[in-house]
């Protein structure tokens, strides 16, 4: 069951490499948050109570509900329905996304031989998700899409933690959550400002501070 969930997590990110609709991005981010919640529930009994409840809250309330709602508010505020003109055309994104996704399985195979303590499938999917999230950040022009890429990165990091069964102290987990929540708030605030200043929140508008060698 957890393998199916992990693969579903990866398929979601692969789908994002093909799409340009903001609504789809947000749906995939919410879906990944829910999958992470289910994977945490799977580990019930293997981690201490406090950590379990914290991680369950983080994945269900924060990653599945709060973050997608905040992202949706940004989309509404900036009136960006889709990424119309990415740096890399749609076909190129499909090819790159597929290659990266399949490479994830090669990583899975390598990790299963290198370190048996790691959940190799989840590790491979997390790595390919990270790479595709980076690809989205670099290849898309809309700032809101880049924020989506950042949140996908955060989901990939959460899957990586589950794959490696690395437990951080509760204090650190709490701090990380607080930081990312505040960061989302700042993104919301500044994207709103950018929208009211430039009308179009695209990376191409942010070029007034460039230097010439």
């Amino acid at each position: 069951m957890s393998q199916i969930l992990t693969i579903l997590f990866g398929v979601g990110i692969l789908y994002l490499a093909l799409t340009s609709r903001m609504r789809t991005y947000i749906q995939v981010i919410a879906l990944q948050g829910f999958i992470l919640f289910l994977l945490i529930v799977r580990d019930f009994g293997h981690i201490d109570w406090f950590t379990f409840f914290f991680l369950a809250f983080e994945t269900l309330a924060f990653k599945t509900i709060i973050v997608p709602v905040m992202l949706w508010r940004i989309v509404e505020r900036t009136h960006v329905a889709r990424e119309a003109d990415p740096n890399i055309p749609q076909f190129g994104s499909i090819v790159i996304g597929t290659i990266v996704f399949l490479s994830g399985f090669a990583v899975t195979d390598w990790v299963s031989r290198t370190d048996p303590s790691v959940d190799a499938l989840a590790f491979g999917i997390a790595v390919s998700t990270l790479i595709i999230a980076f690809f989205i950040i670099l290849s898309r022009k809309k700032l809101i899409t880049q924020v989506m890429g950042y949140m996908l990165m955060q989901n990939a990091v959460a899957l990586l933690m589950i794959a490696m069964a690395v437990e951080l102290p509760l204090l650190v987990n709490l701090g990380v959550l607080l930081d990312i929540f505040t960061l989302m708030f700042l993104f919301l605030l500044f994207l709103g400002k950018l929208h009211s200043t430039y009308e179009e929140t695209s990376r191409e508008k942010l070029t007034s501070l460039r230097d010439q060698p």
Binding site: V157, P169, Q212
Partner: protein
């Protein structure tokens, strides 16, 4: 008891400031916080190490960084007052400035005091969040652009560092937690593969925050758009804070017998920073951006010193301290120059020596301190780094180092002399500068001069201990 007081004070003080609505109260809180920070540093220097709930620790390893926070903080407060007064900021933005300052210093102090790498990450991310309002403070289109780049690039960078920390945690699984002392003590037992695998992520992540090339792109924008006292803080302290965490991880790799591999990453970043700053300084048209590129160069020199090891470590931390003082001086002075001439363009400033003698003198002497002219400590640190290269027989590195440092010096000197000499434009304000506009910088330069001529043993001990 100093650690909890130092950590709780800014948080508790920030809340009532929003209800009191008194500029006097806001200023008093800032002064109290700066004096408290300085008092805590003196206390730890005299009374020895202190630990708090196992997650925070003040000892000789971080005393230099804490002392720099305190010194730069005290120097920046008068400049902040003057800036807020000159710009006639509204009550709300005055409060935002003061609260952001409290939270910014809190997050940097927390990062330095954190004895756990995960907790360090939490505080280093918090520095980005706390300083974002500063960069947007002047609310121009360009400040908005700089703020967005700063927040987004640093957050992505810090997320990459977190991935590295997870790999490091995997290497320590079953051996120890992410406490620096445990990691260093148990370094030979850590999984070598995951430990080495973690390092590039941590270098890229924290290197982004430390402003080293090729992850530096946010730095010139943020430094040039922030108010000058804040630029002083960003350059004089924030970069050091990121470097602190990076150096602690470097020490873990060193203890695990992976020094050579770790040094390669530091050397690449160090020389890339020198190259980028040499190229861009030559064409810089804005004197705050000029200082920002100089920060990239100096962080590069510090990385090179650490990578070399031996006397290079002492040189790196001496350089770090001297750079913080010199850059604080120059950024605050740059704010005064921008006010007097009404521009940040190098082309719009000339005749500093006649238009404003104290500011002109600070600009000239500050430039000499930053350029590494004797008797200032940067001369000693750069000399020690060059000597270490000779000792290790790395003559290729030495040639590249000397060439790039000379190119940077040329780029800096060209602009500094142009601004200092010549005739001041008619539009330049002629009123004499107030004492608080130049005294803190003059004291910093005097301290630098004393350190360069006859460094007290206590200071030498603090610098040496930072490397161990």
């Amino acid at each position: 008891m100093m650690i909890p007081i130092l950590l709780v004070f800014p948080l508790l003080a920030a809340v009532p400031l929003f209800t009191l609505r008194s500029r006097q109260a806001e200023r008093s809180v800032l002064i109290a916080h700066a004096l408290l920070t300085a008092g805590a540093v003196l206390y730890w220097a005299v009374a020895g190490p202190e630990e708090f709930i196992g997650y925070f620790r003040a000892d000789t390893g971080n005393l230099l960084f804490l002392a720099l926070i305190a010194t730069v903080y005290i120097a920046v407060i008068p400049a902040s007052y003057r800036y807020l007064e000159r710009e006639k900021v509204s009550e709300l933005w005055h409060r935002i400035y003061v609260v952001s300052m409290l939270l910014f210093v809190f997050s940097m102090t927390g990062a330095i005091l954190a004895s756990n790498l995960g907790l360090f990450w939490v505080f280093i991310e918090a520095t980005t969040l706390a300083s974002a309002p500063f960069i947007y403070f002047e609310r121009h289109e360009s400040s908005l652009e700089a703020t967005w780049k700063y927040v987004f690039i640093c957050s992505v960078g810090i997320a990459i560092a977190f991935i590295g920390i997870l790999f490091l945690a995997l290497s320590a699984k079953g051996v120890c937690d992410l406490f620096y002392t445990d990691l260093i003590r148990n370094a030979p037992q850590l999984g070598r593969f995951w430990l080495l695998f973690s390092f590039p992520f941590i270098v890229v992540g924290l290197g982004t925050k430390a402003g080293v090339a090729p992850m530096h792109s946010w730095l010139p924008d943020a430094h040039s758009e922030a108010p000058s006292p804040v630029s002083a803080f960003l350059s004089g302290m924030l970069l050091n804070t990121a470097l602190y965490g990076l150096y602690r991880v470097f020490q873990v790799l060193d203890a695990a017998g992976l020094r050579r591999e770790a040094a390669i990453f530091f050397l690449i970043c160090g020389f890339a920073s020198l190259l980028i700053s040499a190229v861009y300084l030559a064409g810089a048209t804005n004197f705050k951006r000029l200082l920002a590129y100089s920060s990239i160069e100096n962080m590069g020199i510090i990385f090179i010193g650490v990578a070399l090891g031996g006397a290079g470590i002492f040189a790196a931390f001496l350089h770090l301290m001297a750079h913080s003082f010199a850059k604080t001086t120059l950024f605050i002075t740059a704010g005064n120059i921008a006010h007097r001439f009404g521009t940040k363009d190098i082309a719009g400033v000339s005749g500093l020596r006649e238009a404003d003698r104290p500011t002109g003198a600070l600009w000239g002497i500050g430039f000499a301190a930053l350029a590494g002219l004797p008797p200032f400590p940067i001369f000693i640190s750069e000399f020690l780094i060059a000597r270490e290269m000779v000792t290790q027989g790395r003559f290729g590195l030495l040639a590249a180092f000397l060439l790039l440092v000379t190119l940077v010096l040329y780029g800096m000197a060209r602009a500094a002399f142009k601004m200092y000499l010549g005739t001041a434009p008619e539009t330049a304000k002629r009123e004499p500068p107030r004492l608080i506009e130049w005294l803190p910088q003059a004291i910093l330069l005097l301290i630098l001069c004393i350190l360069g001529v006859a460094m007290p043993d206590a200071i030498r001990h603090i610098i040496t201990a930072a490397g161990f």
